[in-house]
Symmetry: C2
């Protein structure tokens, strides 16, 4: 939580962004995927001279276990053609690049680094599902959770069960989230899954951790993402279409689910959202398009509530109405989300920002939200021990 | 590298600091060690109301493998009594808390977080030496180094060999670094090793990776460290003895040694130092006391040269003269350094700053450098893919 409002003025501006193709990317190292995302960002921004202009980097990367490779900041800098640029890896589980983004915002605001590259990367699919499940579990509490054998599908299943018990949320409502996000993914050429699914197929898919089924779970994905940030007053030096970051919030909570006040709401999301809305001086009604952290379908429903897109307990109904589908009142996860675009964990936070960048600059093609001016991203680490919320505004 | 000088004005001020006892700390988790360091920092600063005042945290932590525990930012925040405070783990190998410190400086300068806690932690001694060696190796290049079986003693042995070949540096000069740092450690009640060693014992110790012997290597250590930063104009609200950070530099280099321009100098250190000196508007001659990254004795000798405490190739001779010993012209590693105080890798960067904080506030007891006003810390990640340099000034 921050002190001091910034009165709706931009904190920093995005002048370019890049995203690798998401999916199974055989034969590549994480650093090579990162370079693919960076190349798009540099290509989009011909006025940038990367070696001259980029003064600092923050790279979200969740797990050194996948490639037996730590120190990803320096490795990513080198492969991105930015040898010697200060590069820091940030990690907050699946919010690793959400916190990279905020660290980059701090750096820009500090006055010490005019242009900052933030991003994230993960290479996962070369490991077995059992290995990936174990590596992901390292983001939960070792003595109080992992040691007892619970993994993330189980933790989110506990939240889903509590939500159903408290509010009457149904498996069908969860499935609606999956169907919507697969539809959006079918419109995104970089998504891992580009095919629609039916409600029936979602409901008939095999149980992973009851009540969560296969189609309630996000994907194991290779991918990378990045953004180029600068001071708002310098943005037009680099682009005619900057996207301004006008609110930012981050909060933590207990790493173990057992210590939480509630299983049906993430306090970290609520605190981060409150700060971001305050800073941006907007209300949830002002948001035109949002990318939220749908690592499981229940997580998107809880996010609707914690971001105040609806009241507590109303997330399941909101999923059913279609209002969060393209063409609805507030399209959510137009990229396909973690569910269909894919979830290369360290890359997810800035990949969400990439989608909002496309939407607010009118470059989202078949999934463009018409007239979108205000966007929001919401990135969660673990079962909610970290959350970041960022709010964006186009200039037009 | 930064643009824009800050003209010798403080970037941020340290108003308190804490350090756990270093050594073999059986039966504790990293988060508990971190809480021990934080408790000291809070106890030293009774005017701080932690839950009210601390607005962000950056926690250096190198390896999730040791405790099968990622997401250390949130875990550390909770155990430090700072539940819900935004907490980001930073990682840059053994410079993980050097980069946490700079990230905290950015946050303070951003205007969004008045008071920021930065620190680091590692719990290592419960794993076997073979495991620790493997986990540490994850900070080197997987495809080009680890895969071939080389680990850090071997990488630094290559640098030592090159330095000997190029400049005539001797094994005896390396041993002088060990003897000095063990002497300093003998004066530090928190050091892992508190006994002096002789030059003969150092030279007779068993070979680890020729020419490096046991006493050329730093220790495997459990420990944690932290600092409380604020804006210079707020410092006196919290303490009568602030220490100001007046220069900061960070740079990267190739993660693999094979790609470097030189094996006898770390370009990342040189770039980081150049920036920090420029920003602080001081020269190396102005430094009264320094903590440098002596993960191996050769690393301290190279650091002397890269920090311009002496010319290229003169580091071995400087080690011999005694000028860097307590009582000498420029005491280096008065804490005992990584060599004798210990090297809990994620904690090292801010542990170095802790020592400088004690020195510049006259609290270093038996190892006090009389009249010390300007201090410097130098933290290296891996074989030099990351380096940070910070410069500090007392107020008096």
């Amino acid at each position: 939580m921050f002190v001091g409002l910034v009165n709706g003025k931009p904190l920093a501006s995005i002048v370019s962004a890049g995203l690798s193709k998401f999916g199974k990317r055989e034969g590549l190292y994480a650093r090579e995927l990162f370079a693919e995302a960076v190349k798009e960002a540099f290509d989009r921004c011909p006025r940038l001279e990367p070696k001259r202009d980029v003064k600092a980097m923050f790279v979200g990367h969740m797990g050194e276990a996948y490639e037996h490779q730590g120190h990803m900041g320096a490795a990513a800098a080198d492969w991105a053609g930015l040898l010697n640029v200060p590069a820091t890896r940030t990690e907050a589980a699946c919010a690793s690049s959400g916190v990279a983004l905020l660290s980059g915002v701090y750096a820009v605001l500090s006055g010490l680094a005019d242009v900052v590259l933030v991003g994230g990367v993960e290479k996962m699919t070369h490991r077995s599902t059992a290995e990936v499940t174990e590596f992901l579990a390292m983001a939960s509490d070792y003595p109080f959770e992992q040691w007892h054998g619970i993994t993330f599908p189980g933790l989110y299943a506990l939240m889903a069960t509590a939500h159903m018990h408290t509010y009457g949320t149904t498996e069908t409502q969860l499935a609606h989230v999956a169907v919507k996000n697969h539809y959006h993914g079918s419109l995104n050429p970089k998504a891992q899954m580009q095919k629609e699914i039916t409600l029936e197929a979602a409901l008939a898919s095999r149980v992973v951790a009851s009540p969560l089924k296969l189609y309630d779970c996000s994907l194991i994905t290779d991918g990378a993402s990045c953004l180029i940030l600068t001071k708002p007053e310098l943005a037009r030096r680099f682009t005619d279409q900057p996207v301004h970051i006008i609110g930012a919030g981050q909060a933590s909570d207990s790493i173990g689910l057992y210590e939480r006040q509630s299983l049906t709401s993430l306090r970290a999301t609520r605190l981060a959202a409150q700060k971001a809305y305050e800073m941006a001086q907007i209300t949830p009604d002002d948001v035109d398009v949002a990318e939220v952290h749908d690592c499981f379908t229940i997580a998107e429903i809880i996010a609707y509530e914690d971001l105040a897109f609806c009241g507590a307990g109303e997330g399941g109904k909101l999923a059913e109405t279609g209002e969060t589908r393209l063409g609805g009142r507030l399209p959510v996860n137009t990229s396909g989300g973690l569910k269909a675009k894919g979830h290369p964990v360290g890359a997810t936070g800035t990949a969400q920002a990439y989608e909002i960048y496309l939407q607010l600059t009118g470059q989202a093609e078949r999934r463009q939200v018409k007239g979108a001016r205000v966007g929001l991203t919401h990135n969660v680490g673990g079962s909610g021990a970290t959350a970041t919320v960022h709010i964006y505004r186009s200039e037009a």
